[in-house]
């Protein structure tokens, strides 16, 4: 069951809107319709958003993206078409049912924050719950939790006027998160912030999304932002959707010159992150493994180093081939006493441009870890350059299935280069 399903959406402002929709369906141009006094804002848009997905709608101002978003929660009535949110057909609901749906299933983050200046930060965050009729103690506790998620719990008693722009939008985000709805609509949520704060907010959103798994429809005019955030992107132009696809699909096969023009401006180094180029994590070698077996496995895979785990999913360090060979020569029973090289850790959200330096050293593989330090994957060194150069993402077959007695699959710098 898709989280949101829009089918044949039209929004036409002005006079004789139904007639305008018919004409547009028959292939009339926007200019023709406009001459008759109707202004089409969204034309025949259909898409599906899967649960847990960040779906970005990208377009320049006037492309109809904000109008589209407002039809998804019924702030604007559709001229034609249907919107399903979860099981409900939103476009068929009466006012009361629509309000209930908004209270329970969707929340929204606004471009200019739309915080209530006369309410405290906490009361702002608690607004959705208050509307839903949650009792005071519960809603304040939940709002406080949401503020803690965005790192603003100490500011709960302040008024929004006392916060900076980035902090205000975090309150806006907390207000939406406190509602604990599955669907989050974000209308140019970061566009009013300056570039540094915007990046920080994007990172934070990705981090939150990794743990919360909301369905997010995100509107932006910034393709770099779309590429960074989006699992899938819909590019809009003059009310129509020109292309829908994953960032990679769009980069690889732009639907038309308009999209291609956009892509020229994409800074791949800032758009793509470690998440895009990492390959499946190799199984960590247990510190108790016998050096001889490890060495054998490394030679089988022609790998120069192996990741040694701490037994808890974290990387303890990197053992080089020389070190393992020395351990074998010394007759050590396990890898435990081995001097390990420190691993080079990056986060899944680290951009390619920030990956260049770690990937440039050739002693140890670059490991991608989560907040708790657990291994998510490794970045083959060549993959960074390949992605920057526009080469399609490496096939997952690069990381091999464990095939040896110690359960060690070593991914080496050598191998990655050759792959």
């Amino acid at each position: 069951m898709p989280a949101v399903h829009a089918e044949g959406l039209f929004k036409v402002f002005g006079r004789r809107t139904a007639e305008a929709v018919d004409r547009l369906r028959d292939g009339a141009s926007v200019a023709e319709v406009r001459d008759r006094g109707a202004t089409p804002a969204v034309i025949d848009v259909s898409f599906t958003v899967e649960p847990g997905e960040i779906f970005v709608v990208m377009g320049l101002s006037g492309s109809g993206k904000s109008t589209l978003l407002r039809m998804l929660n019924g702030l604007l009535e559709v001229t034609a078409g249907t919107v399903h949110v979860g099981e409900a057909e939103l476009t068929a609901l009466d006012d009361k049912a629509l309000r209930r749906l908004r209270q329970e299933q969707m929340s929204m983050v606004f471009q200019h924050f739309a915080l209530f200046p006369h309410r405290s930060v906490l009361d702002n965050a608690a607004y959705a719950l208050e509307v839903r009729g949650v009792d005071r103690a519960t809603r304040r506790a939940k709002a406080q939790e949401a503020l803690a998620l965005v790192g603003l719990d100490q500011w709960a008693d302040q008024k929004p006027g006392q916060l900076s722009g980035g902090m205000k939008q975090r309150v806006g985000l907390a207000r939406a998160l406190a509602a604990d709805t599955d669907l989050l609509l974000m209308d140019e949520a970061f566009s009013a912030l300056d570039p540094l704060i915007r990046r920080e907010m994007q990172d934070q959103l990705l981090e939150l999304q990794a743990s919360l798994g909301k369905t997010i429809v995100f509107i932006t005019h910034d393709l770099n932002e779309a590429m960074r955030l989006g699992d899938r992107i819909a590019i809009m132009r003059d009310g129509r959707v020109v292309q829908i696809g994953t960032p990679d699909q769009i980069l690889e096969a732009p639907a038309d010159d308009y999209v291609r023009q956009f892509l020229a401006d994409v800074d791949r180094g800032r758009v793509f992150t470690a998440r895009h180029v990492m390959v499946e994590a190799p199984t960590l070698v247990s510190p108790t493994a016998a050096p001889a077996q490890v060495l054998q496995a490394m030679q089988d895979h022609r790998s120069g180093s192996v990741l040694v785990g701490d037994g808890d999913g974290r990387v303890a360090g990197v053992a080089t081939e020389d070190a393992v060979r020395a351990a074998v020569a010394a007759g050590a029973p396990s890898l435990a006493g081995l001097t390990l090289l420190p691993s080079v850790d990056v986060r899944a959200t680290t951009t390619l441009s920030d990956l260049l330096a770690p990937a440039a050293q050739d002693e140890v593989p670059v490991t991608v870890v989560d907040d708790a330090g657990r291994l998510l994957g490794v970045v083959p060194r060549g993959a960074v350059l390949a992605a920057l150069g526009g080469v399609p993402r490496p096939a997952p077959s690069i990381s091999r299935a464990p095939a040896d007695p110690v359960g060690a699959t070593a991914v080496t710098t050598k191998e990655a280069v050759s792959g």
Binding site: R99, H112, P117, V131, D157, K159, Q162
Partner: protein
């Protein structure tokens, strides 16, 4: 050519429209058929105003003047309290206290009724462009029709005395209450209203929880204007026998008594300034009082915010918007 047209008009080629006659007939009809209604309104209003006047005159004048000054000190400033006490004491020593309280009673009753009618109308006008468009000429009419013109029909409906004074005052004083309520609500950031809708707030809740609180300063400015207009009209109402400072002024005119007229006029000015400063302070009060606690707590939370800044909030820097409050608050 033009001359012939003009002459034709003078000769009666354009028919004379007897607007005055129609109005007369209409008023006669209303008076005949609705006089019981007017009697009830009349009795109620009179009881209200006179009761309030008696209540205002119940405490010893000096004590009440001190109370009013203290009220001013609480909502505005000590300086205002001192100045208004001096003014009110002058009222008492000019022997104008009794008419001043009669006028105050009339103004308060009229203003309360005007506000009670005006604010809901203003809300309706803010919600609907059609209501707003229909209302505009009516409000223009109420405000610009010379006030004396109201007096005559009011007297025909309610007789001479206090009640027609109240009615004309209400009509004259209501428009700014309506206009500023509409303006205040329309000025509320549409994105905030949209946010209310987006979280599923019903319209009534958006009105009470978002629009009215944010429009409050503007609405209070409207209330202030209602009171000021009510005061100016209350004096004119003296012409049709409403007691109070208006009566004093009318008497002084008929006696050509410059001194008495000046005393009455000065009393009106004192009352007006007091009411104006008091009600405008009420309009700003919300901001001042809500700013104060956050100013106090700021000292504590900035320290904590500073710690948090190292972990995440690079933007957790200067909180904006409080700086201009700081000097006034610390002065208190």
């Amino acid at each position: 050519m033009a001359e012939t047209v003009l002459r034709a008009a003078e000769d009666g080629a354009l028919p004379q429209i007897p607007v005055g006659d129609w109005i007369d007939t209409g008023f006669d009809w209303v008076t005949e058929n609705f006089s019981p209604v007017f009697d009830v309104i009349s009795a109620g209003t009179e009881a209200g105003v006179e009761g309030l006047r008696d209540a205002l005159l119940f405490p010893p004048p000096v004590l009440f003047a001190v109370l009013l000054a203290v009220l001013g000190g609480v909502v505005r400033s000590v300086r205002f309290a001192v100045v208004s006490l001096l003014g009110l004491l002058l009222l008492i020593s000019m022997r104008m206290w009794e008419p001043a309280m009669a006028t105050l009673a009339l103004v308060l009753v009229s203003a309360v009724i005007a506000v009670a009618i005006g604010i809901p109308i203003g809300i309706a006008a803010a919600k609907s462009d059609r209501v707003s468009a229909a209302l505009r000429p009516v409000l223009d009419f109420m405000q610009t029709m010379p006030a004396f013109v109201y007096l005559v029909p009011a007297v025909t409906f309610f007789g001479i005395g206090l009640v027609p004074g109240v009615v004309t005052t209400i009509i004259f004083a209501m428009p700014p209450g309506v206009r500023l309520t509409e303006l205040g609500i329309r000025q509320v950031d549409p994105e905030l209203v949209e946010a209310g809708h987006a979280f599923g707030s019903p319209p009534g809740r958006i009105l009470r929880g978002i629009q009215l609180p944010l429009a409050l300063p503007t609405i209070m400015a409207g209330v202030n204007q209602v009171i000021m207009l009510a005061l100016s009209m209350a004096v004119i109402a003296g012409l049709i026998g409403a007691a109070g400072l208006g009566g004093v002024v009318v008497t002084s005119i008929s006696r050509l008594d410059v001194g008495l007229g000046f005393e009455g006029g000065l009393s009106v000015v004192i009352l007006a300034i007091y009411l104006d400063r008091l009600t405008s302070a009420f309009g700003q009060r919300r901001g001042r009082l809500s700013g104060f606690p956050s100013f106090l707590s700021r000292g504590g939370s900035v320290g904590k915010g500073g710690l948090a800044a190292s972990s995440r909030s690079a933007d957790a820097v200067t909180p904006v918007g409080t700086d201009q409050n700081a000097p006034t608050e610390s002065a208190r």
